[in-house]
Amino acid sequence: MDFSIDEGTQAKIYYLEDSRKSTYETLLRPHLNFLFRISYRFYGNRMDAEDLVQDLLVKLYSRKEDLSKVDKMRPWLLRILYRQFVDNSRKKKRSPLGYITRRLEAAEPTPVEMLPDHTSDLEERVCNRMVFSQIREALGLLDKYQRAVISLHDMEGYTLNELEILLEVPLGTLKSRLHRARTKLRCILEKKGTFSV
């Protein structure tokens, strides 16, 4: 008995694989910028943001059959991105490599500092960059939940009621996280003299 796969069958197998891949890419590629932007908000650096998007896409590939059944893709993606962020932050906290990475990053200019600035006044430009840099540094001192809620609420403009549904986190918990995050952020920035009364 011959068990070898004839050329036609082989071609069908490849075709099936290609079509699955293309569906997966077709559905997710339009959301890539969105995923990167939110990831960047969470982490404040390109490297970790790209890693988070990559981890998410690897995970989604194994669930590619479910993708076409998702009704509203963007809210669904935001929810799993948030979960992946929490998960990755936990892993990073356990890893001794995280500390080394953080120290190395601190010595390098942040992407914000390397961005071209359209502000005409030089003094204002320098001041803006300093403020951005200090805020980013202060955000890095918040815990993962506080960072996530401040990123989504204060930066991306989601309301707490929207986040309650999107992240499946109780409203009270979100309120308390946001309150603590803002208080801590203000406290850090006041100490630095960035935003002091």
Binding site: E50, L115, I135, R182
Partner: protein, 228 residues
């Protein structure tokens, strides 16, 4: 209204979460009190700055790279790694490769390490690859000495597969069993493009009757490979 209460309620006030009467009272206080007015102005500025925090554009090649990587990572042979990790119930031997690819010198070359295993007893060799960056299309090859078998591969002496290495730690657990006293070198080679790195572990096999305590002692070796 007291300034401390205003400070406490400032966020709720700005979020529009307060009842109309309370919000009006705060509004009135802010107009009269210079400190609270300043605090309010700072809070507005902080919120505006947070919203204005720039996000750099996505890397042009990132999209292609990440989709290719996701497909690569989900190929069946990649799933051998977690399977092998799961069956590693007991840590018997640990090897650590440090950073994967050294800038110089390139090509084959590395130290030789030795381990002792007891014949017919399953042992696990752990290879820990640390990489500074994600590397796709890495070719792994493993050469086993005669009489040493990798679980699930029978008498196959050379095993080659392709995969990707993630940034950070990558663990590969190899459950091996020695069926003869001959022993010999286990050679692990990693290839990425034109570059390759070889690591050799010399396996010494002892008779199972002889209770060699060193055979059960964990080992940890390091080697550095840094991508250019």
């Amino acid at each position: 209204m007291d300034c401390m209460i205003i400070k406490e309620k400032m966020d709720d006030f700005m979020d529009g979460q307060l009842e109309a009467a309370c919000a009006a009272a705060i509004c009135e206080h802010i107009q009269k009190c210079a400190t609270c007015r300043k605090r309010h102005a700072i809070a507005i500025r902080l919120r505006e700055t947070l919203k204005a925090l720039p996000v750099p554009p996505i890397d042009k090649v990132f999209g292609d790279r990440v989709f290719r990587y996701a497909v690569e990572r989900n190929k069946p042979y990649r799933q051998v790694l977690p399977y092998l990790m799961r069956i590693a119930a007991a840590v018997l031997f640990v090897f650590a490769f440090g950073y994967l690819f050294q800038k110089t010198p390139w090509g084959v070359g590395s130290g030789m390490e030795a381990i002792t295993v007891s014949m017919e007893l399953r042992r696990e060799i752990r290879l820990l690859f640390n990489s500074e960056e994600t590397l796709a299309n890495v070719t792994f090859s493993l050469e086993l000495p005669k009489g040493v078998e990798l679980e699930g591969f029978g008498e196959q002496r050379k095993i080659v597969w392709e995969g990707a290495i993630e940034k950070g730690s990558n663990l590969l657990v190899l459950p091996v069993t020695a069926h003869s006293l001959e022993g010999g070198p286990i050679i692990a080679v990693l290839r990425h493009g034109e570059r390759s790195k070889q690591f050799t572990v010399n396996v010494k096999v002892t008779n199972p009757v002889y209770n060699d305590k060193s055979a059960n002692r964990p080992h940890r070796y390091e080697m550095s490979i840094i991508p250019t």
